[in-house]
């Protein structure tokens, strides 16, 4: 069964160094649609990234900084990037060699599709 997010995910997964991308419910952390490489724990990444994004959004609001436009977590072996809209979060996992600027641009363009 196809989902309205297939094209968005297909665009992101084609970026160099992207290991997977997911559309996740922000409040429940459940995967809506995903395109991930074998070995990526889809449910765990979705739940934890959604929780991270939600906390960041609430922190930003509490600090009077407005909405979160782009969240990037840099880790030892890669990156987790997230953008959100209308209760959905678009999450991308990428290798350290990935071009985060390109991924960021593609995600910010794609976030419109979450509405």
């Amino acid at each position: 069964m196809s989902s309205p997010f297939e094209d968005v995910l297909a665009t992101l997964i084609r970026q160099r160094g992207v290991l997977g991308c997911l559309v996740v419910g922000e409040s429940d952390g459940i995967v809506v649609d995903a395109n991930v490489q074998v070995g990526v724990s889809e449910a765990a990444v979705a739940a934890l990234a959604a929780a991270l994004y939600r906390r960041a959004r609430l922190s930003s609001q509490s600090a009077g900084l407005g909405r979160v436009t782009f969240l990037q977590l840099e880790a030892e072996r890669g990156h987790v990037c997230a953008v959100g809209r209308e209760g959905l979060v678009l999450v991308t996992l990428a290798e350290p060699r990935a071009h985060i600027g390109l991924i960021r641009g593609a995600m910010l363009q794609s976030v419109e599709a979450l509405a």
């Binding site: 952390g29 449910a43 739940a47 934890l48």
Partner: protein
């Protein structure tokens, strides 16, 4: 910090880890008969007793409903309330299945609870002590064990002679 309380020692560490990771409000591990093995968040024995009875009933009903609809029992159930949500899952171990119930609010999510429940199940399966064969469970011993497990959780039961937890009667 609130700690978990366990009627059987092997339950405590995995349950505490789950509570710390998933940030839930309440957690309860019980035998399908309704006998509690460990809990977090409850302050009164009567609440634990009621939650255990309800969880055991819901789990049994869902299991039968799953068999009717899907040919196999449902192993996980989720209900969303206005501010709180509950998740009920089955933990399978070498000693048999147990029922796990947890309630959570805005601090957690269904996704997180499911992820950490899977980890909890693995940890419990690793540390569960071997089954002890004994006589079939009788109504009198069930009643006694239910009362004793509740008393242990709320600090009213004597420990075993070796200073450890007094084991509950063997269960099938």
């Amino acid at each position: 910090m609130m700690r978990t309380h366990a009627a059987e020692a092997w339950v405590e560490a995995p349950l505490q880890r789950f509570v710390d990771d998933a940030r839930v409000l309440f957690a309860l591990l019980l035998h399908p008969s309704g006998q509690v093995l460990g809990q977090f968040g409850f302050t009164r024995a009567v609440d634990v007793m009621a939650a255990c009875a309800l969880a055991a009933g819901i789990h049994a009903s869902a299991g039968q409903l799953g068999r009717e609809l899907d040919g196999a029992p449902f192993h996980e159930l989720y209900h969303a309330g206005k501010e709180r949500q509950i998740f009920i899952g089955e933990v399978r171990t070498a000693r048999g299945s147990f029922i796990f119930l947890t309630a959570f609010g805005d601090e957690s999510s269904l996704g997180l609870v499911r992820v950490f429940f899977a980890e909890l199940s693995e940890r419990l399966a690793q540390v569960v002590p071997p089954r002890v064969d004994g006589p079939p469970l009788a109504a009198a011993s069930l009643e006694r064990d239910l009362a004793r497990s509740l008393a242990q959780l709320f600090g009213r039961a004597p420990a075993a002679p070796d200073g450890g937890d007094a084991p509950l009667s063997p269960t099938a």
